[in-house]
Amino acid sequence: MKRVLVACGNGIATSTVVATKIREACENHGIPVMVSQCKLLEVESKADDFDLLVTTGKFTGGSVSVPVVGAINLLTGINEDVTLEEILSHLK
């Protein structure tokens, strides 16, 4: 089962919405997944335990060893499907 870390500024609002959208999309596609949330400031210490990092804000906290996907589209709705597909591609 792949593990996704969703990060936003405070780790409470936008990451909650994005984490839910990822869980629902994975469920619909029969992809087992474990989704966690955190603040952007916590990413560097946590990211290595995950397979994918998804952020709504800009992650400037240095290098992480996992792929990073920007998920602002899941909030604005612009090309939301394209971004969701990109995220799922990392989880299959």
Partner: protein, 153 residues
């Protein structure tokens, strides 16, 4: 919306706002006067916006969704500011970019990872650009409240 306070007092028609700090202060002050948030909330909002801006570039009517740590909140609630003139906010995904914002939805959340229902409704509103356009072009506050209630409650 479970336990989220929203009524016409929490809609502000903001005129003559020059920058994002003025907007954030006006809305945070209003929430504080209503007892929804603590005195410390305003500074927390201002500090957070500098570090993690909340402007969302929707390609149409841009919106900001300022929020701060749950510790500053008394009652889970939102307060909406309609800006007569667009005000520049920094973009959430590209903080160096400035985008003109016409509506601010300030979120006061009581617990982390909860209020999902309300947050999803806020995102649905943001994505319903036809509705957002109608709201920001409505002059009459009561009408704005009705439109917002339809989407958020």
């Amino acid at each position: 919306m479970e336990g989220i306070k929203f009524d016409s007092r929490q809609v502000l028609m903001l005129k003559g706002m020059e920058n994002d700090e003025q907007v954030l202060s006006a809305v945070a002050d209003a929430m504080c006067e209503m007892g929804l948030v603590k005195e410390t909330y305003k500074q927390a909002i201002l500090d957070r916006e500098k570090e993690f801006p909340t402007g969302l570039n929707t390609g149409g009517c841009n919106i900001a969704i300022p929020h701060a740590d749950v510790t500053h909140v008394n009652e889970a609630s939102i307060c909406v500011g309609i800006l007569e003139e667009p005000v520049m906010f920094h973009a959430m995904d590209e903080p160096e970019d400035l985008i003109p914002v016409k509506m601010v939805i300030m979120l006061a959340l009581k617990e982390a990872h909860s209020h999902l229902d309300m947050l999803q409704k806020v995102v649905e509103l943001i994505q319903d650009q036809a509705m957002v356009k109608q709201i920001v072009e409505t002059e009459e506050k009561e009408m704005v409240c009705e439109l917002l209630k339809k989407k958020l409650l």
